[in-house]
């Protein structure tokens, strides 16, 4: 699956949380209307050229399907692309964007009576916010509870918007903020201090228990939070099949630290076999592109699966990977955008 880039015009670019983030709305030309249909929770990949190089990053769509296509980008440490978008993007600019995709999806059940708990940390709110609004709009009998973790009140994305959502649907929507280092006067905004942990979950479920049986838990945050929270939910008898999670659509700082080893091997693409040297700092994808090959890729975030290939021999470590399941990994599949070599020799093929 390779995703085509479309040049879209920025219809609106507005700063959020005091300029630390930016919400960007795109004009979708009528001819692209069908291609730019999305489901709540999906993201787009944005491509930018900086210093002569192309970078791609994925951002969640923060509006429900049917409204304007909006992404919200938060500044991150060393985040070249995100910081570029937050600082420089303006209304009227053109940006290369892929169609929406992704498997972290909330499909509304209009006749269902479901209870959804949305757990987000930092910019993890972005897909969840689109999901919560979709539930309140398209599932008239369902409930949406947002539980958002941030460092302090200033960092909370969509704080006012979420308050309005709660007021408009006060009988079936609640919003809770957990602040890890609240500042003076943040007290009023915070439900609790600390992190979303087992204690917080216990209070949550007794304050706003789910209605009956059809309950879903949606988590979006750094991979470590997703793991911790899934484990805490498990301790409260929540079955794994009801937990849906996604890590941030871009590599988190700690994930990038996975180191590889210098390695040489061969790569097969479209029936041609080429010798390839990969340095310890490179992903397999970067090395292949540097060698002049044109392997498929899209999100460069381990999310879309476009860059999938298979190792016939040799080993690789993934910085992060959402697009493979354990079976794929066992069979030698790798996401080349995230895989760094872990053995001195390898034999890779894209023709799978």
């Amino acid at each position: 699956m390779s995703l085509t880039l479309h040049s879209l015009t920025v219809a609106d670019a507005r700063p959020e949380i005091g300029g630390e983030a930016k919400s960007i709305e795109f004009d979708i030309p009528p001819a692209l209307g069908a291609e730019f249909n999305w489901k709540a929770g999906q993201h787009v990949t944005i491509s930018v050229h900086l210093k002569g190089r192309e970078y791609r990053r994925s951002y969640s769509i923060t509006n429900p399907p049917g409204e304007s296509l909006r992404v919200t980008v938060k500044r991150v440490r060393n985040g070249m692309v995100s910081n570029h978008l937050v600082d420089l993007l303006q209304t009227g600019d053109h940006v290369d964007v892929t169609r929406p995709y992704g498997e972290f999806i909330l499909q509304p059940a209009p006749q269902g009576q479901r209870t959804h708990y949305f757990f987000g940390a930092g910019s993890g709110i972005t897909p969840l916010y689109a999901m919560a609004r979709t539930v309140l709009r398209d599932e008239p009998f369902s409930y949406a509870h947002l539980i958002l973790g941030n460092t302090d009140r200033q960092r909370i994305l969509f704080y006012e918007e979420a308050q309005r959502l709660h007021r408009r649907h006060s009988n079936r929507c609640t919003v809770r903020h957990i602040l890890s280092s609240p500042r003076f006067l943040d007290g009023a905004a915070a439900w609790r201090k600390g992190r979303i942990d087992l204690d917080a979950l216990k209070s949550l479920f007794s304050e706003t228990p789910p209605v009956a049986q059809d309950v879903h838990y949606w988590i979006c945050g750094p991979a470590s939070m997703n793991d911790d929270l899934s484990r805490a939910l498990g301790m409260l008898d929540v079955p794994g099949s009801r937990i849906h999670s996604e890590s941030y659509g871009y590599a988190t700082p700690h994930a990038i630290d996975v180191a590889g080893v210098d390695s040489t091997g061969s790569v097969t693409l479209d029936g041609h076999r080429t010798a390839l040297a990969v340095s310890a700092q490179q992903t397999l994808l970067q090395a292949a592109r540097q060698a002049g090959l044109q392997p498929p890729f899209s999100c460069e975030s381990g999310v879309c699966g476009a860059c999938r290939a298979r190792l016939h021999s040799g080993e690789a470590h993934h910085r992060r990977q959402m697009a493979l399941d354990e079976r794929d990994v066992a069979r030698g599949y790798v996401l080349t955008c995230q895989a760094v070599p872990a053995s001195p020799a390898f034999d890779l093929t894209y023709d799978v």
């Binding site: 006749q111 269902g112 009576q113 009998f141 479920f205 007794s206 228990p209 789910p210 209605v211 009956a212 049986q213 059809d214 309950v215 939910l233 301790m235 409260l236 008898d237 929540v238 079955p239």
Partner: protein, 379 residues
């Protein structure tokens, strides 16, 4: 040729064959009432409900989520849990101690190595899932697993707007008003009596005379019946009090949802009247009542009579002198006793070879329609 009772053969009210068909096609296949939501209010609590042929267990996990399973051990079928109680994190069958977790997974088989030397695949022996959902603060169960059960909100969706403003979840139960009785009549006779508009001003001429039966509004919404009638206007328009809108807001809503799920509700009260067939000529009726909290109630009490009729013995269909002994239901002044009496008398007559039904009156059109609804499920 079998004798008919409007749309149904008389057999439908007297034979085990019909009883069994209704059990199979109706009571074992649709959403059944299981109680008020607060009947399971903390983790580990459970109740079990007989729904036609199915005994369904509802239990709350530590995540406060409800789960529903068929209350049948996967070993040799022993019922796992009795009516109500508190389970720990697991459910153990009393027979051979097979143990299931609250997801229904079989987690322990005692002495497995010795008893099953060639192994036992626990993953294939989980409890069978059923569905539980909540509507208007009441629990309902369905025998199919959640992915296959129909939507409860949709099942009651069309009739919901016709049930009055009260949300039972906001009321408090009056434990003293919880009753269970057995009536010697077919369940359909009880339902038909419930939806018979004609009898209100006759059988209940003395017990429900605070309502203006002539102004009753009623009709069917799918398989469900809705009924509303206002209070009789007295002393000017006295129930226009209290800033609660026009007099049309008050009175009684007395719907009968399918199958045999009756409610009686006013501005301040919600009663359930659950009809469960036990035999062709025997039916259990369980009733519970919730009311607005005491303080609110006190102020309302002076303005609006209850839907439950007059306090006992005030006034009766049959005067004290004509009464046939002290227990004459028609002298009881209690409209439920009046109803049960006529239902049982009617059931008795159905076994007589001379029984023949007369023409249905206007106010009996819901009676005939309920028979059609029953038929539609048996096709």
């Amino acid at each position: 040729m079998s004798r008919m009772y409007h749309e149904l053969p008389v057999d439908a009210y007297t034979s085990w064959e019909w009883y069994q068909r209704e059990q199979d096609r109706i009571f074992s296949r649709v959403w059944r009432y299981a109680g008020f939501a607060e009947d399971i209010s903390e983790p580990g609590q459970y109740i079990s409900v007989q729904a036609g042929a199915n005994n369904i267990l509802i239990v709350m996990g530590r995540d406060h989520r409800l789960r529903a399973f068929h209350n049948i051990c996967r070993h040799r079928g022993t019922q796992l849990l009795r009516a109500t109680g508190k389970a720990q994190r697991a459910v153990t069958c009393p027979y051979h101690d097979w143990t299931y977790d609250l997801e229904g997974c079989l987690i322990a088989v005692p002495n497995a190595e010795r008893e099953y030397p060639s192994g036992i695949d626990k993953s294939q022996l989980g409890l069978k899932a059923a569905s539980v959902d909540i509507w208007r603060g009441m629990l309902f169960v369905h025998p199919d697993p959640p992915e296959r059960s129909p939507s409860l909100a949709e099942w009651f969706g069309a009739v919901d707007p016709h049930l009055g403003p009260v949300q039972p979840a906001e009321l408090t139960e009056i434990p003293a008003q919880r009753t269970s009785m057995e009536v010697k009549a077919n369940w359909k006779i009880l339902v038909e009596n419930y939806v018979d508009v004609y009898h209100l001003s006759h059988l209940h001429s003395a017990t429900l005379d605070m309502y203006d039966h002539a102004k009753a509004e009623y009709g069917w919404h799918g398989s469900h019946y809705a009924f509303w009638e206002p209070l009789v206007a007295m002393d000017g328009d006295r129930h226009d009090n209290g800033g609660r809108g026009g007099s049309g807001d008050h009175g009684a809503w007395v719907p009968m949802l399918f199958p045999g799920i009756g409610f009686a509700t006013s501005d301040s009260e919600w009663s359930t009247y659950i009809i469960t067939p036990l035999a062709p000529d025997l039916t259990r009726v369980e009733s519970r009542t919730k009311r607005v909290s005491k303080s609110t109630w006190n102020s309302l009490w002076s303005e609006w009579p209850s839907t439950r009729g007059r306090p006992e013995g005030q006034k009766a269909k049959v005067g004290k002198k004509e009464a046939e002994g002290r227990d004459d239901p028609l002298a009881s002044g209690n409209f439920i006793a009046e109803d049960n009496y006529v239902c049982e008398q009617q059931q008795k007559s159905m076994t007589s070879p001379f029984f023949e039904v007369g023409p249905a009156a206007q106010g009996e059109s819901p009676v005939v329609n309920h028979q059609r609804v029953v038929l539609s499920f048996l096709k």
